[in-house]
Symmetry: C2
Subunit: 307 residues, 2 copies
Amino acid sequence: MSFDRLITKIREMKNPTVVGLDPKLAYVPSYIQKTYMDVDGESLKAASRAIFRFNQEIIDAICDIVPAIKPQAAYYEMYGHHGIKTLERTIRYAKLKGMFVITDGKRNDIGATMEAYTAAHLGTTMVGENECTPFGADALTVNGYLGSDGINPLLRTCKEHDKGIFVLVKTSNPSSGELQDRLIDGVPVYAIMGDMCEAWGREQIGQYGYSSVGAVVGATYPEQLRELRARLPHTMFLVPGYGAQGGGAAGVAGAFDANGLGAIVNSSRAIMCAYQKEGCDEHEFAQAARREAIRMREDLTSYIDIK
Amino acid sequence: MSFDRLITKIREMKNPTVVGLDPKLAYVPSYIQKTYMDVDGESLKAASRAIFRFNQEIIDAICDIVPAIKPQAAYYEMYGHHGIKTLERTIRYAKLKGMFVITDGKRNDIGATMEAYTAAHLGTTMVGENECTPFGADALTVNGYLGSDGINPLLRTCKEHDKGIFVLVKTSNPSSGELQDRLIDGVPVYAIMGDMCEAWGREQIGQYGYSSVGAVVGATYPEQLRELRARLPHTMFLVPGYGAQGGGAAGVAGAFDANGLGAIVNSSRAIMCAYQKEGCDEHEFAQAARREAIRMREDLTSYIDIK
């Protein structure tokens, strides 16, 4: 029932935004990079520490107006285990500040291996008698190509630890249709995957009518957003592709239900790099991120009436 | 053209086996666990160090008779950044010993994010002027649900750094058919994904006729293995599900071409836990792993004639 916590935050803040923390090193102001490279050289360790500082200041600047962050695992893995340490610390810090954390990992596997991913990202790992929490996010994005064997281990943890998942349904990229739009008995693959989300979530429906199994549906396909909103009444949507990828607030509105709920819209680069777009002093990067987060909230809520 | 290196090793050793290193802590002999927990307590750090030692001894015991290892990322992520450090060290050690390393991560995303995964696992990350290698595997498993946008960034790195990928086509688990067996214009989804692999690999075909884009096809579906071998003449197969999951050597034979090439068969638990099955002293775990690797090689080559 994890999405109850997320939806409650969205209602309190009147803001259905999640800020993607996909921190390429080039996004990090040079004075921060220098601080760490002066100590550890041009290393993966220095880069990872600079990125943590960057994330931390953005979290400080937005945590009272944005309900959630979505760190993208790829941008941490590219710095090796130092980057993964920054991912751990970013999640922990955001949770300390009261934010809901969605790790964007698009993980997928079967059986015992999927249990290992689940333990890593949402659950706990036993070492002897000691129950450790490796990452401790609130939700994880996953890929359903392998079917129920890849999803069932997640469902158990969602129930026991009050967590959620978002399954890739219709992704925001231009080539998503190569498989996802193909028809099976007259129904596109993305709708079949959506129906599977409804089925997987059936036993875990929360107070707002949404289950712990959500779906990723891109802002760049407004028609499919509307179609899937009607087809999947218990499935919370995570909507990437707003802004940088070309999806606008008008199109995104179709992802929401009559109460203005049921979806959360992601923005990454536009917020992280707001200081570059504004052309302000790089020391003001966090306040620029806040200004852009406010602009996005106003844009979304001019189309969506959250009840 | 990366699979040339792998196929050459397979021919030299007359062994189409990859050993999966999916090291649950319970697989690690208790004397090794104790060595590290005496120092670092029942922690993720101690567990990760114990696992590295376990991997290292298995690699030492098999590297002259087995061409490749396949570490499964999930079993390292479940120990947080300490586990990821063990993944890095395991890859580095296996490569030092001359082995071909396939990271089983089933990664997937689009555009710049997929570039980040590619940099992480197969390529390099720039920090200032310094070109760093986070993981440095030879190949990576990936999920093609997002279409070409998720594969193209990998193809560039495969070409430039002599690497390979294996795309999930027909997975070994019981529920793989929920999506993968559904028909699109009379053709199952797995065959459509297989055709995409042939198309993605078209420009990168090596000396043995196989491209740098391989496919994952489960040993548990021998009919589909045979069908896909005929349908995808330039696609190298990574075949999980032999042994523990119920696939036998007779069925697996259909994955190979007339020269006994074109596939590599994975075994994980049967080799890692051979000492438990044998009931020998746990100090002999690495020699037991070698005995099981030899048994598997004999089993496979009684059906497959490598030319």
